[in-house]
C-alpha cells in the first residue's frame, strides 16, 4: 500500500519535469550566467576575460548613447503603456456588449498582435514614408499639407511617437483581450443592482467596471511595460540606428553584437531586467487588486 502511494506521488512530478527543466536550462541558467558575467570584462576582440567589478556598469552610465537610448525608451514606455491601456479598456468595453459579428471583430482585432514586429515595421514604412507614404498622399489630397512631410528621423518626439504608435497598434489587442476576459467575469447581478439604484452607462463603468477590471489592467500594464521596454524591431526598421529613435534594447544589441563588448551587454541586460522587475512590482502594488465574487 505504502509502495503504491509512493508510485502515485511520482506522477505529478513527472508531468512537471519538462517544465522544470525548461525553466532551469532556458531561464534560470542564462539569467545566472548574465548576472555573473555582468561583473566581468568580456570583449571578444580584446581577450582575456577578467573580473572587473562594477566597471561595466560605470562605463554604461558614462556612455552618452546609452543614456540617450534610455531617455528614448522612457518616452516609448510612457506613450505605449498609456495609449495601449486606454485603447485596450475602450475596445474591451465596446466588445463586452453582444452584437452581430462580434467574434469576427475580435478575430480581426487580434491580427496586429500576431504579426512579427519586423513585419509591422515594414507595413508601417509604407504609411510613414516621406517620399511615397500613404499618410502624406492622403494629407496632400485633402489639402491639409502642400508638401510631403518627414515624420521620422528629424524631430525626436515626433519620431518616437510615430514609432510607438506602430507598437501600440500591435500590443493593444492583448490588453483588450486581457481586460475583456476580466469584464466577462463580472456577475451581471452587480450591474442589475446598480441599475435599480439608478447607476447606468458611464456611472456603472466608473464605479463598477473600472474597479473590478483592475487585475486584468495590472497584467496588461505589466505586459505593455515589458513590450515597450524591449522595443527593437519597430525603431530599427522605421528609423535605422539613428539616435532619434534608438532604444535601450537596440543599444544592448549594438554594444554586444556590433562592438562585441559582451561584458557591457550583460550589464545592460541585467539593468533592463531589474528595471522590468521594479516596474512590475510597482504596478502590482498600486493597480492589482485581488477580487472575489
Amino acid at each position: 500500500m505504502f509502495v503504491k502511494e509512493k508510485k502515485g506521488d511520482l506522477l505529478p512530478y513527472a508531468l512537471i519535469l519538462p517544465l522544470i527543466l525548461f525553466v532551469i536550462f532556458l531561464a534560470l541558467t542564462p539569467a545566472a550566467f548574465t548576472i555573473v558575467s555582468a561583473f566581468f570584462r568580456v570583449q571578444l576582440l580584446n581577450p582575456p576575460t577578467t573580473f572587473s567589478g562594477l566597471e561595466n556598469f560605470k562605463d554604461i552610465i558614462a556612455n552618452r548613447e546609452v543614456m540617450s537610448s534610455l531617455a528614448n525608451t522612457f518616452y516609448y514606455i510612457i506613450i505605449g503603456v498609456t495609449l495601449s491601456t486606454i485603447l485596450g479598456i475602450f475596445f474591451a468595453t465596446s466588445l463586452h456588449r453582444k452584437f452581430r459579428g462580434r467574434s469576427i471583430v475580435i478575430a480581426v482585432l487580434i491580427l496586429p498582435w500576431a504579426l512579427p514586429g519586423v513585419v509591422s515595421g515594414i507595413l508601417w514604412t509604407g504609411i510613414w514614408d516621406a517620399n511615397h507614404g500613404v499618410l502624406n498622399s492622403i494629407l496632400k489630397s485633402l489639402n491639409i499639407i502642400s508638401e510631403y512631410q518627414v515624420f521620422l528621423g528629424q524631430n525626436k518626439f515626433m519620431t518616437i511617437f510615430a514609432i510607438e504608435l506602430v507598437q501600440v497598434w500591435q500590443i493593444t489587442p492583448l490588453t483588450t483581450i486581457l481586460v475583456l476576459a476580466v469584464l466577462q467575469n463580472i456577475p451581471d447581478e452587480i450591474y442589475e443592482a446598480a441599475r435599480i439604484d439608478g447607476s447606468t452607462g458611464a456611472k456603472a463603468f466608473r464605479y463598477i467596471s473600472l474597479p473590478l477590471i483592475r487585475p486584468g489592467v495590472a497584467i496588461a500594464v505589466v505586459q505593455s511595460v515589458i513590450a515597450t521596454l524591449n522595443i527593437f524591431d519597430q525603431p530599427y526598421i522605421l528609423n535605422g540606428a539613428a539616435n532619434t529613435g534608438n532604444s535601450l534594447a537596440m543599444q544592448t544589441y549594438a554594444v554586444s553584437f556590433q562592438n562585441l563588448n559582451f561584458g557591457q551587454g550583460y550589464a545592460l541586460s541585467l539593468l533592463i531586467t531589474l528595471f522590468t522587475l521594479f516596474v512590475s512590482i510597482i504596478v502590482a502594488k498600486f493597480i492589482y487588486k485581488k477580487i472575489e465574487y
Binding site: 508510485k7 528629424q154 525626436k156 528609423n239 535605422g240 532619434t244 562592438n259
Partner: protein, 439 residues
C-alpha cells in the same frame, strides 16, 4: 481490479518515459540512414536566389541541394555575429563582407578557405582575393567585384540642356542645380541618409572623389580638419539635402531603397555613389524600372577630374559551425567559377542571369562578358575597375563595425539637423581615435 491497476501503472510509466524523452529532446526512435540522405546545404546571402536553372545544374553535377535564404545586409551581419557568439549553426555558407574581414579573421568565426579550396590558384584570377585575407588565411572568396560608381539619367540631364558629362564635383553640383532650377525633377540627387551601412559607404566614395582617404595605416582619422577630403565630402552631402538637391524624405532612405524607388523610377537624376552592375541588373530591367535605356555609368566626378572608385566586394565563406563544410566548399568553388559568374552577369541569356549581380570577381569572367559584348556599360566599368582602389588600403580594421556605426549615425544626425557637420565629424574622429588606441 488487477487489470485496472496494471493499466494505471502502464499509463504512469508511459507518462514518465514521455516526460523524460521530451525533456532530453528525443523526437523519433528511428535514426535516419545517413548514407541515403541527400546533402542539402543552407546558403544565406543578402541577395536573391540564383536562377533556378543554375541551381538545378549545380545539384545535377554534385548531388548537393542548395537551400537559399535572402536577408538584408544589416540583419545578415547581426545573425552571423549572434550565431557565432552563441556557438551555434547558422548556415553552411554565408556572407563575408569586405568590411568585416579584419574582425572575422581575428575572431576565427569562419574556416580558412585554403583548407578546402586551392586559394593560390584562385588568387591569379581574382585581384580582390587579397582583401579577403587576414593573417595569411583567406576568410572568404569574393564572388563579385562590386565597386562604387556614379550613375546618371542622361535623359533628365538632357532635358535640362546638359549634354556634356560632368567630370568634376563642382560641375556635377552645378548640373544638378540646373536640373532642379529648370524643374526637370524636384530633387535631382539620391543620397541614402538612413542610419545604415549604405550611408557610410557613400561617404567613403565621396571622400575618395574629393581626393582623400578615411583612415591612415594606423587607423587614425584623416578627415578631422576642415581642409580634409572627408570633411569636405560630409559637408557636400549635408549641404545637398539642406539645399534641396536631395529629397527631404531621404533622411530615412537606405541605399537599395533609394536606387529602387527613386533612381529606377526617374524621380532623381543621379546617384553619386551607386553600385557597379545596377544599370544592367536594375535600371535596364523593365519590371523594376521606368528609366530603361536612360541611365548610364559615368566616371565619378572628382575634385580636379575623374576620381578613382572604391571597391566593396562581396565574399562568401564557411562558418566554423557549418554542418557540411565540404559540400559548402564545392558550392563556393562552383559559385565563383569564371564562366558561371559571367552567366550570372548575363553572358548566356536571361534564364541564367542573377538579378542584382554586379560584376564577376574573376578576370576570366570579365573576359567572357567582354568577348560576348554582354556587359552593359562594360567599357566604362572596365575603365573604372582599372582605377578602383580599396576603401582601406591597409585593410579594414577589426573595429570597423563600431566605426561605421559612428559614421552613419553622426552623418544622419547632421543631415537631420540635430548636429552640425563639424560636430558630426568630430564625433566620428573621436571614435576612430579611441578605437585605434588613443592619440
Amino acid at each position: 481490479m488487477h487489470y485496472a491497476m496494471k493499466k494505471g501503472n502502464v499509463t504512469k510509466t508511459a507518462a514518465i518515459v514521455l516526460s523524460i524523452a521530451s525533456a532530453i529532446g528525443v523526437t523519433t526512435l528511428a535514426a535516419p540512414a545517413k548514407a541515403a540522405t541527400p546533402v542539402t546545404i543552407s546558403v544565406v546571402l543578402a541577395a536573391p536566389p540564383l536562377p533556378p536553372e543554375m541551381l538545378a545544374e549545380f545539384t545535377k553535377q554534385t548531388g548537393i541541394t542548395v537551400k537559399w535564404t535572402q536577408l538584408d545586409w544589416d540583419s545578415l551581419q547581426t545573425k552571423i555575429s549572434a550565431a557565432a557568439t552563441a556557438n551555434t549553426y547558422f548556415a553552411d555558407a554565408t556572407n563575408v563582407d569586405w568590411s568585416r574581414v579584419g574582425q572575422l579573421g581575428k575572431l576565427g568565426w569562419f574556416h580558412p578557405m585554403e583548407k578546402y579550396v586551392d586559394t593560390k590558384a584562385f588568387a591569379k584570377d581574382m585581384p580582390q582575393l587579397s582583401s579577403f585575407t587576414k593573417n595569411g588565411h583567406v576568410v572568404g572568396i569574393p564572388y563579385d567585384a562590386s565597386f562604387m560608381v556614379t550613375t546618371y539619367n542622361k535623359a533628365l540631364f538632357a532635358k535640362a540642356g546638359i549634354t556634356k558629362v560632368p567630370t568634376t564635383i563642382d560641375q556635377y553640383t552645378k548640373d544638378l542645380r540646373a536640373i532642379k532650377e529648370k524643374g526637370v525633377v524636384k530633387y535631382p540627387l539620391n543620397i541614402p541618409f538612413a542610419a545604415a551601412e549604405g550611408l557610410s559607404t557613400y561617404w567613403y566614395e565621396t571622400t575618395g572623389a574629393f581626393g582623400g582617404q578615411i583612415l591612415d595605416a594606423k587607423g587614425k582619422p584623416l578627415f578631422a580638419s576642415k581642409s580634409s577630403a572627408g570633411y569636405k565630402a560630409a559637408a557636400w552631402m549635408v549641404d545637398a539635402i539642406k539645399t534641396g538637391l536631395v529629397p527631404p524624405g531621404n533622411i530615412n532612405v537606405a541605399d537599395s531603397q533609394g536606387q529602387q524607388t527613386l533612381m529606377a523610377k526617374g524621380k532623381v537624376a543621379s546617384t553619386f555613389s551607386d553600385y557597379s552592375g545596377n544599370v544592367g541588373s536594375l535600371y535596364e530591367v523593365p519590371s523594376a524600372s521606368t528609366v530603361v535605356g536612360q541611365v548610364n555609368y559615368i566616371s565619378t566626378p572628382g575634385a580636379k577630374g575623374p576620381a578613382s572608385n572604391l571597391g566593396n566586394a562581396d565574399g562568401i565563406g564557411i562558418p566554423v559551425k557549418a554542418k557540411n563544410p565540404e559540400a559548402a566548399a564545392k558550392f563556393i568553388t562552383w559559385f565563383t567559377d569564371g564562366k558561371n559568374m559571367a552567366d550570372f552577369a548575363g553572358a548566356s541569356g536571361l534564364s541564367r542571369t542573377w538579378v542584382g549581380y554586379f560584376f564577376p570577381s574573376r578576370l576570366s569572367g570579365i573576359a567572357i562578358l567582354n568577348k560576348k559584348g554582354s556587359l552593359i556599360g562594360g567599357d566604362v566599368l572596365a575603365a573604372m575597375l582599372d582605377k578602383s582602389s580599396a576603401v582601406f588600403p591597409q585593410g579594414a580594421p577589426e573595429w570597423y563595425p563600431q566605426f561605421s556605426s559612428a559614421v552613419y549615425t553622426n552623418l544622419h544626425d547632421a543631415a537631420a539637423g540635430t548636429k552640425t557637420v563639424d560636430q558630426a565629424i568630430n564625433a566620428i574622429a573621436a571614435v576612430a581615435t579611441k578605437l585605434s588606441g588613443g592619440k
